[in-house]
Structure formats: C-alpha cells, structure tokens
C-alpha cells in the first residue's frame, strides 16, 4: 500500500479563548481546541464531526489560519503556517479557501455576484479585467448558476443558490484545499443533495482536498473518505468512513451513530439516547472528558485522560476500553426500505437522469 501524501498537518494544536477577564485574578479560559493532532491527505475528503461547542469550527479556522493557535503548529506542504509572515500568508491563502455555513451572512449584500467572484482574483492579482470576467462566467456555469447571475445581488438568490455562489467564490483563486464549515446544514434536503453533488464534481475536476465540518452523520457518511470525531476540544476517534460507521470504537462515536434517525418506521430502539448535555467547556471533567455521559465509564476513566492511540482496523481512538467494548455500528437503512419504495426511488432516479439528459446537467437548476 502506498503511503498517502500529507497536505495539511496539525500537531499538538491548541487554542484558548478568554471568556472573562476580571479586574483582579486570573482570566477564565476556554480551551476550544486542546491538543489536536491530525494529518489530512492530498485529494481526500476529511470530515470533522461533533456537537455544538466541541471546537470543530475553531479547528477549521485554525487549519487555514483564520485565527492564530495558542500553541502547536499547522503545516501546509511542510511549512508551519503560523510562522509565515502576513504578506506571504496572503499568497498562501490562494491555496486554502473557506466555505461558510450561512450563505445569507457570508456574502456582501452590496456587491454583485460578479464582483463577489472577481474580488478574490483581484486580491491575488490573477488575470486582467476581461480574463476575470470570462473566469466569472466559467465559475458560474461550473456551479450551475445562470450566466446573467453576475449582474445580480445575493438577495435575489435562494439559500442553495447562495451557497453555490459561496463555493464559486472559494474556487475563484484556484485553491488546493477547500474547507467547508457546515456547508449544507442550512439547506433543504433536495437542495443539500444538489450542493453535495457539486462539491463532489469539483473535487474530482480540480483535484481538491476537501475538509468538511459537519454535525449530520448521514451527510458525513455520504461524502467523506476519513472522519475525525471531536468532543470538548479533543479528537476522540479517527478512522476511514466505512470502518467508523460499521465498527465505532469510541462510545461517543457509537452514541452519535445511534442518534441518527433512520427514515424507516419503527427502526430506532427506544431510549438508548445518550443522557445529559455536553459539560461546560470552561469546567472540564477530570480524566476522560466523556466519562460523565459514558455508559461504560469505570474508575480509570474518572482519573486518567486517555490518549489517542492506534485502533484495531485502522485509525485511532482515545478510550481506555476501546479493545473490550463491542459497540454497535450503523444498521443499513437500505435494508429497511420496502421493495415498492426502492423500485419507485429507482424509477425516479432513472426519470431524473433522462429528464436531465445525462450526468453533468443533473446539478443545473432551472
């Protein structure tokens, strides 16, 4: 097996935020990201999942230096980007682009779509006026927006279309790595499917590396190659997507998988839901941070913090009991589908493909 090339690497990455700075005494700190190590391979889709407040968005911002780390390093193509001077960092940002969650607040409402897409090219000094205009038209077509969109303003577009604009803008500088912070979670299911398909097409076409922050495990399962699960600032498990879903080794991963609502009547077991809320990140539990909510916790979990260690079957897990627990993975939703429903979904798929006249047009809106 060939060793995959690492494009982006975080080591011992930490970021603290001051939440309260009293006149006297020590300020209150939140450790949003607390000692994260990870390697992202060139050309893969790497997802980071976890619940609100687990630090996944902070981690995403650290990875492209939208914020500075308190400690630790992020290496892009072998260089620590935290040490790169600002002027050079600006050149590097061509390679590392971000897609934001909310397509309503991340586009300047006073700029036309054309200007929004041209701006990154101007900033990076790419092309001349006419070339840029041509590039804008190309980008719009690529994300399936009508060509007259360039002269219109963001408010004239629906949520899904705005997210396409956000993606086109991220692509404008010709990036190598695209980081999406919940890129589809604000969208309706059918629109979400359109945007996910576009991301997959673009990734293949431009050889992008995709890092996706998400909380919806069904989406993660669909689009990722590898997944990292975060809990209270730490990575508790990483694995290839199939391994993670079929044989989770961290109880938190298993709990997230068990909470997936399968669209099939009468499938979900009653009351195995994880109890309690995630604890306050200001006042972290001792030992394993998950132990107050973990059904398998023992004495060692209360006292000793587990380290992320290689797990059987590939990946890594931070749990004292990973080897002895046999946790349940995802049951196949497809198996629950009736023959009638499956047949009609196949009819729809075929009719859709016929109406769209082939693969590429499948993402083009009317």
């Amino acid at each position: 097996m060939t060793v995959p090339e690492t494009i982006l690497e975080a080591s011992a990455l930490r970021r603290e935020f001051v939440t309260k700075r009293p006149l006297f005494g020590a300020p209150t700190l939140v450790r949003a990201v607390d000692g994260v190590d990870l390697k992202i391979h060139r050309g893969e889709t790497f997802s980071i999942v976890g619940e609100s407040g687990c630090g996944k968005s902070t981690l995403a911002r650290l990875l492209v230096r939208l914020i500075e780390p308190t400690e630790g390093a992020v290496r892009y193509a072998g260089r620590n980007i935290a040490d790169i001077p600002e002027a050079e960092m600006r050149r590097l940002r061509r390679d590392l682009q971000f897609i934001f969650q909310d397509p309503f607040s991340s586009l300047n409402p006073r700029m036309t779509v054309g200007a929004l897409l041209e701006e990154p090219m101007q900033v990076h000094g790419l092309g001349s006026g006419t070339k840029r205009k041509a590039q804008v038209a190309k980008l719009l077509a690529r994300v399936g927006l009508p060509s007259d969109s360039a002269d219109r303003y963001p408010h004239e577009f629906s949520g899904g279309q705005r997210q396409r604009i956000g993606i086109a803008r991220a692509l404008a500088s010709g990036p190598k790595v695209l980081i999406g912070d919940e890129p589809v979670s604000a969208l309706d299911v059918s629109i979400q499917a359109q945007v996910l398909n576009i991301l997959e097409d673009l990734k293949a076409e431009f050889g992008l590396t995709l890092i996706v922050i998400a909380h919806d495990l069904a989406v993660v399962r669909h689009m990722s190659d590898r997944v990292a699960v975060m809990y209270l600032g730490e990575i508790v498990e990483t694995a290839a997507v199939e391994t993670l879903f079929s044989a989770p080794q961290h109880p938190y991963t298993a709990a997230l998988i068990a909470a997936i609502l399968v669209p099939k009547v009468g499938v979900r077991r009653a009351h195995t839901a994880l109890q309690g809320d995630p604890p306050n990140p200001i006042d972290l539990p001792s030992g394993c941070r998950f132990h107050p909510r973990c059904p398998h916790a023992t004495e060692i979990c209360r006292t000793t913090r587990p380290v992320l260690s290689p797990r059987s079957g590939g990946g890594a897990v931070a749990c004292h009991h990973a080897d002895t627990l046999h946790l349940k993975g995802l049951e196949n939703a497809e198996a629950g589908l009736s023959a009638k429903a499956a047949a009609r979904m196949e009819l729809y798929r075929a009719a859709r493909a016929r109406a769209d006249g082939g693969g590429a047009a499948a993402t083009t809106p009317q």
Binding site: S190, L261, V265, D277, A333, A341, M345, A362
Partner: protein, 330 residues
C-alpha cells in the same frame, strides 16, 4: 366511530394582492393521542398551516380565504380572538423551533410556566408554581427546585427546549402543535427530546401535529404523515404507508435525496430547481415544473386519489410503475 379531535377541511391562505392561495385546500383529521407529521421543505406552507390553526397568522398581509377547522365542537377559523387566547396554552399547547426567542428572557423559567397555569386554570400562584416544578421534573430537568429560578440564558439549548415542552404541556392540552421542535438541537439532544415528547404525549393522550423537514424525525414520531409541496398536501396517509408505499413523485424524490439511503458511493438524487413563488404558482400540479414524469395532463390540477384506507395522493401518474416504459427509461 367518534368524531376526530381535529377536523381541518379546505384550509386556504393567501397573501393580500396575489391571485393564488399560498396554502390551498389543506384537509386532514386527527384523533386523540395521534401524531400527524407535516413534512415539506422551506416555503411549502407547513408553518403557515400550523399558525392558522392557532389563530396566529399575521393578518394582514395574510388572510384565510376558506376552510374550517373543527376542534372540540368549535371552528378554530371562526372563533373570536379572546376565545382563541383562552384555547392557546390551555387546550392547545405550542412548541416552537427556537426556544431562546420563544421564551421571555427577562422572566425566571418557573414563573413563565406558572404564569401559563395561572392564566388558564385560575389557580393560586402557589399552586401554579407547584405545577411548574412538577412539569420541570417530568421533562427531566436536573435539580428542578433550583432551575425554577433560572433565566432562559442560563440553560443549554436542549434544556430550554425541555422548558418549552414543560410549558406547552403544563395544562394537559388535547392538542400539541410543534413546529420543528428539534431542528436547532444537536443530534444526541434531538434524540433525547423526541423520546421525551413521545413519553409525555403517551402519558397525557394528547394529539400532536409535528412540523418538520426531516424524514428521520417523521419515521420516529408519526402515526400519520402529510407531505406538503408549495402549499398543498400532495400525499397523506399512515406513516408506514408513506414510507413503504410512497406514491407522489415529490415524496419519492424527497426520500431519494436523503443521504441516509443508498450506497455511500452513489450520487445523490436531486430535485432540480426551487419551490415556485406565490405569484408564479403553476396552474395545474404545483410540482410539475420540477417533476421528471410530467406530461400534458399535469397542467390540470390532479384530483386526490385514494390508494388505500386513509392513504391518498394528488398525482395523475401514481403509481409510477403503471407509466409506459418509454416515459421513464433513458
């Protein structure tokens, strides 16, 4: 057979100055203890339908252009404002999506729940507070005695939604209207809250209308399902029938676009285009412009066809397998 608890017939809503109804001819019945899920995407009219039932539409610009809603011997569409105020929070409990903006930020949660009890049951403040404490305990808020004095901002999102549920259920309503109650919550918390709603509903035998865009939530909660598209119910039936025998192309498309189905490597099936705007609503079937099975007949509004007991669909081409081969294959 007993009359249903709620019988909605032909409910239509329009925005002033437009020609077509935003919500058109919505009809369904709900029996005591039953859960009806109304599922659909943004702009399908599911929330408007719920607001209309509670008498909470902003009129103007919105206006009810037709229909009745029989609830415990009264027509909700024709009740005077004061009578509706008496019903809301008492016989009809409400749970909204965003608990932070639906709770009063300046009032302690114990007082907020007690206020609802006092207003409708005419009991003493002490008694109302006792009921509030009891409700906080029932919805699983830890240390409820202390939490009575907490403000909404002191609580997590999941805990705030539990407070909303406690308030909605404090007066043992016959009907609960829940509009996307778990959409703003994390997945593990969503599972907890859904479990809680189910348990409490079973205890009180309340009926529930649950509005959601998530077919996973529907499968978890529904006895009956109404699929809405662009203001119309396109398919309605028992939950098992909707999932096992989906008839309308839109229902099937919604199921197909869910990443939960299908092999991981498959391309997701999409519904191209967007929901039509009120002003540009197509004359016949409203899904026709986005439907791959569309034919000339679709320019006429399809009648509701009964598929099985309680299961009906509004599509000229259902069931799809009856279509001639050349209409579907490439």
């Amino acid at each position: 057979m007993n009359a249903p608890l709620l019988d909605v017939r032909g409910l239509s809503i329009r925005i002033d100055g437009t020609e077509r109804d935003l919500v058109e001819d919505v009809s369904f019945t709900l029996n005591a203890g039953e859960t009806l899920c109304i599922v659909g995407e943004s702009g399908c009219g599911k929330s408007l339908t719920a607001l209309a039932l509670m008498g909470l539409l902003s009129t103007p610009p919105l206006r009810i252009t037709g229909g009745t809603a029989a609830f415990q011997g009264a027509d909700l569409m024709r009740l005077p404002r004061t009578a509706l105020q008496d019903l809301r929070g008492d016989r009809i409990g409400m749970i909204f999506q965003e608990p932070m903006s639906s709770l009063n930020p300046t009032m302690r949660i114990g007082d907020q729940i007690a206020e609802a009890v006092e207003r409708h049951k005419g009991v003493s403040t002490a008694e109302a507070r006792k009921r509030a404490l009891d409700m906080l305990r029932r919805v699983g808020i830890p240390a409820p005695e202390q939490r009575m004095a907490a403000y909404p901002h002191n609580l997590s999102g999941g805990m705030r939604q539990r407070v909303m549920i406690a308030m909605a259920l404090a007066n043992d309503p016959a009907l609960i209207l829940a509009d996307e109650p778990t959409t703003a919550l994390d997945v593990t918390i969503q599972a907890q809250v859904l479990d809680l709603m189910k348990t409490l509903q079973a205890e009180s035998a309340s009926a529930m209308i649950l509005i959601t865009h998530d077919l996973g939530v529907v499968a978890e909660m529904a006895d009956k399902v109404a699929v809405m598209y662009a203001g119309r119910i396109v398919e309605i039936g028992p939950a098992a029938a909707i999932f096992d025998d989906p008839q309308h192309p839109y229902t099937i498309a919604l199921m197909s676009s869910m990443p939960a189905y299908g092999a991981r490597t498959d391309r997701l099936v999409t519904i191209p285009g967007v929901v039509p705007q009120a002003a540009r609503m197509p004359a016949g079937c409203r899904f026709a412009p986005r439907c791959p099975f569309v034919t000339d007949v679709c320019t006429d509004m399809p009648p509701d066809t009964t598929v099985a007991a309680g299961h009906s669909v509004g599509c000229w081409h259902a069931p799809l397998e009856a279509l001639p081969e050349e209409r579907i294959s490439a």
